[in-house]
């Protein structure tokens, strides 16, 4: 753990929180995933409290408790004994919030990053045809890929197979 003591408390806390990794996709930090929405330092009766706000990627995401525990753990280690983790439900998380660095990390780990999410303001049309995504196989770079299933090992991933190198790979879904 590297701490920079001369920085203001909020910046030190934000820096520490930004290093916490996603428990299911540990190549990403919560900050790069776009799940960490805010880090603030509030003055309470017993001294300063770090308030970290996170939002679930999917409503039923079972990793929220682990994210909370990891944030508390990391911030405690950075010299903040009092930490409160709040859930933010709105606006809902979008795969568009994954940072460029996060997308590079996904590719480097063999996962295909999401394309642009579809807008969902008005009524949503049903799609009965095959899903069309412009993807590249994260292993060999081929654009010849085939969807195996729209639902994968975690709520946020679809399953694909490359029809050139024949390897299966996971694609982070647009949402």
């Amino acid at each position: 753990m590297v701490t920079v003591p001369h920085l203001p408390a909020r910046e030190r806390a934000a820096e520490a929180a930004a290093q916490v990794r996603d428990p299911e996709m540990p190549m990403l930090t919560l900050a790069d995933l776009g799940v960490l929405r805010d880090v603030a330092v509030e003055r309470g009766d017993g001294g300063e409290v770090v308030v970290a706000s996170i939002t679930p990627t999917y409503t039923g995401c079972p990793a929220m408790a682990t994210m909370r525990d990891d944030l508390v753990h990391r911030l405690n280690g950075a010299g903040f004994p009092r930490v409160e983790v709040r859930v933010v439900l709105y606006p809902p998380w979008s795969s568009d919030w994954i940072s460029e660095r996060g997308r590079a990390a996904l590719r480097a780990a063999g996962l295909s990053p999401p394309g642009p999410a579809r807008r969902a303001d008005g009524p949503v049309g049903i799609n009965l045809g095959p899903t069309r995504r412009a993807l590249a196989c994260p292993r060999c770079g081929s654009a010849n890929t085939r969807l195996t299933s729209e639902f994968g090992s975690t709520a946020c991933k679809a399953l694909y197979r490359c029809t050139d190198c024949l390897e299966p790979f996971e694609h982070v879904r647009e949402i």
Binding site: P26, M27, R86, P92, A104, A109, V124, L128, T131, F151
Partner: protein, 312 residues
Amino acid sequence: MTNDPHLTHDEGSIFDGLIEGGDDSRWAFGTDFEDPLAGVDTTVPDGVDHAGLARYCLMLGDDALIMSQRLSEWCSRAPDLEEDIALANMALDLLGQARLLLARAAAADPGAVPPLPDGSPVPAEDALAFFREAEQFRNVRLTEVANGDFAHVVVRLLLFSVARLALLERLRASRDAVLAAVAAKGVKEVTYHRDWAGRWFLTLAQGTEESRRRLLTALDELWPLKPELVSPHPLELSLAEAGVGVDPASMAGEVDAVLDQVFAVSGVDRPDRPALAGVGGRTGRHGMHTEAFSLLLAEMQVVARAHPEGRW
């Protein structure tokens, strides 16, 4: 390989980042899912009856909970691994919606939560899921009837997700910030569920003689439960009036249009079967359920009820 100092591939594993620090205590935290609304403002909008809002949240939450339970029963039983995972994923999305909605009901009206012995560690959302009796549940009956074959779950999920998506689209404008947020998130998730069900409906309809026969049998069996999805309960009307809820009758046109689109592409005629009658006009929204529901509840609730002081 990468030069990014935030990645640790050169040390061998993408999981290295999770185990740095050498403190194993994190693995002992367990899965104590705390309040899913921790830190969320649950103030009830002005002029809205707290108990009414709580009962409305139970309607939408129970739909998601019971549908999730039925989908979960498919775990390890689907025709192939991909569809097994798909059904479990959709069950998880709906369980997440149920948790938020039941927690929102409890926050709006603590009196809606079944009383448990003093000192019980059971959170309000669990008390609502596991310690209510059948007649206290407000889910529509489509969600509760027993599972059948794969065609049955495809048809059930199509009818359910077409209606739920239409509802969530409208609920995004709710004056209740929690309901609006649950809806904004849920629209994105249920869009995937509806596409899955629609594609499988088409596939089974245009597949083999046997797959089509099974699909039409399931459609015929479940169709009488569809009108309940768009029939308003007086509470839904009053919450819609208050700008908090949705009148399900207002989405009937969209539900029919989407279903007709799926039927047309699949070459299937819209069934001609009357609605499943209630008892004296009372249906799932009134707490009047089918026999299958008591069996579902018995299985879903037995462990929690055997250990009301249990910590999970």
